[in-house]
Amino acid sequence: MKGSKNLKLFFLKNMAFVLFAVVFIIFGLLCKNWFTLTNFENIARQSSYIGILAAGMTFVLLTGGVDLSVGANMFLSASICGLLIVKGWPIWAAILICLLVGFLYGCFNAFFIVKIKVLPFVVTLATLMAGRGLTLIITKSEAVSMPASLVSGVGSGRLFGILPYPIVIFFLIVAAASIFLKFVPLGRQIYAVGKDAEGSKKAGINVNGVLAFVYIFNGVLAALAAIVSVTQIGNVTAGFGVGDEFNAISASILGGTSMMGGIGTIFPGAVIGVFLIQMVQAGLVYLQVDLYLQPIISAFIILFAVFLDSVRTRYIIKLEHRNIRTEEQVQKTQKGFTLRDLFDREK
């Protein structure tokens, strides 16, 4: 009985890995050419901008909040970037402005959440709608094209002729954000605030500052994701960024981040989540599954992710209930480790 409990705990804690392995093998068996470098590169390439979004989203989810506006943020910042380039601005300046737009977008969210104390869900839902509306006014509902130099330079360019730039940017962001969460005081405080905002205040943490930071940071990353995405697609149409916030949220949750806050990682967590989602989408295309069925399957993955989150949360609450351990059990918890501990271990 004890063994099965440990097994259950193992699966629950490492669900993303287990799921990833299962899906990977299933597609490998069903699809020809699955185990090829080109296929893996494609999946990674498609994962890149969602991955950047998921990294930012993980910051927000860790504080117990949510940001629904990142898709609209992408739409606005990419459109402004494109319009400026069309008007003859240098590309580097347009990209800088694009990031600035993302930054201001995040500030706007943060102001209403932290200062006016409106629920993040409501604030970001409102800025989602407002952001899309604003963009349509600015672009007059016309698609904005990106210059070919940007598309060929970044979108399909390769670092040292080997690694595609979008993947490089994605990996850099993941590395930087993970290091930030683990090795910078503010990163640790994000976990503390997500677990217990009241307690954090008592511990002397600037809770409002932490909250404002995550929404602004997320805003900037959304703009960066917009650039990465637009260099791959080549133009910004009215559907740009639609629904991407949900892909980012589900990737984060699939990777073990709790919507209650305080639990989760970008690496390996959110990264595995993103790859999992993109892998499923790629696999469905490979298998030539009906185009209309694909969103339904993706929807079930998201539902499954939220289901996992609630199971996990309930399980954790159960664990936190009064629980007296015998000496033997104490030693066991100190010795035993899971895959997740492997990644959590410092050094």
Partner: protein
Amino acid sequence: MVEREEILRLEGITKLFFNICALKNVTFTLKKGEILSLIGENGAGKSTMMNIIGGVIQPEEGSMTLHGKLYTPQRTIDAKNAGIAFIHQELNLFNNLSIIDNIYINSFARYPGTPFIKKSAMRENIRKLLDSIDLHVSPDMMVEKLSPGERQLVEIAKALSGNPDIIIFDEPTTSLTTRETRKLFALIKKLREQGKSIIYISHILADVYELSDQIVVLRDGVVVDTGKKEDFSMNRMIVSMVGRDIKQMYPAERPVAQAKKLLEIENLSQPGIIKNISMHVDAGEIVGIFGLMGSGRSELANIIFGLDPYSEGMIRYMDVKLNKQDPIDRIKRGFAFVTENRREEGLLMEFPVYDNITLAVLRDYKKAFGLVDNAKLQKPVAETVSELRIKCSAIKKNQVKGLSGGNQQKVVLCKWLLAKPSFLMVDEPTRGIDVGSKSEIYNILNNFAKAGMGTLVISSELEELIGICNRILVLSKGEIVGSFNSNNFDREVILGAAFRQNISNGSTNIV
């Protein structure tokens, strides 16, 4: 005896809240290396006192002297810098983080010139700190993997990391087992030997008696009694705290059992939880279930109420066999269950008192279209509230959160009594509430039984069971190991029964 050096002196501290006196002319002195216990009922002003020392609020009159210098904290950080540390009743730990993170969350050491955390130095400090309080785990251990007792120790380590002279404990033992409490007391005494001064706030007078050098009793914001522990008897503590004698603590007359069986349980078993339980509760009697932590007492209560499953046996109520795991059916038959954790399981803390009280009877007060008939509810609510003496100025407005523990427990009782149950189960009815409220709760239970209802009281406080029950059943390792009638209640014998099995197989070393 050498007179000890004076550390902290409070003189004539007076604090008003909206012209109501919360503290009046409070004066006492804390000396180096002594444990001073501060006792008093809820609302006596203990927390106001602590908030003043901690710099959360400032007094209207009076002064504090720390190390012979005037001490006027304006913010909590001032208290910390002055060497005063607090250990609050509710732990302020982040379970999702490691011990290092918890202790240094706002003061991480960094590699010079970078924003990056430097763990090595902190790890060494914490290892020393943890060794000194006898907690042998890695500083990188996640707090969620620790037991409640170990978490308490982490909280203490956090307090000690600032190297304070004065440590203030606020009800530290409420969530600890006997063994963990022992360990904590040993540690507190060790801190005293190291020359730390300690202020210990508690409801549990036996603990106070064991630990203190000096006792200060607060009542209604006034220091009513103070002196050396040697001069205090248990009775004097209670008399000073409550303002009346201990004999009034329990109702004068026990209820009388009627020859009518209400609840009958036969050979109830659930592997690993309870074994072969047979018992009964008659109309008009109070039956107590006594057991130590882990004896299965709350688990048994959950099974009886139909929340948890059982594999064998049977439960009958008024000669009807009850379904397994069907609490709704039991409530309809007149069951009421006041659970152990009123904050999590018994109350909607953010809601007004009125909403909480009416929750269980909304179904019975309906008018057209199934709407709640609030008009009809007024009278029974008002009656029960005054009968139970719930102290609350506006029951429709005041949140339960703002009431004292004793009043909160009365709100839970009120909620169930309004439903006019015929069988009441209460689990730890007086945990964490003051002596005065305890006495009132005992009276409520007594009156309930006298009205012919059956009552089952589950408790780890033997004193209260002896004080109010007709019969006491002793539970140990999920089995009933003893049954006593009120004419032969003997503290030693009952305790012996509860401990016997533990001692025989040597699995614990408490007592």
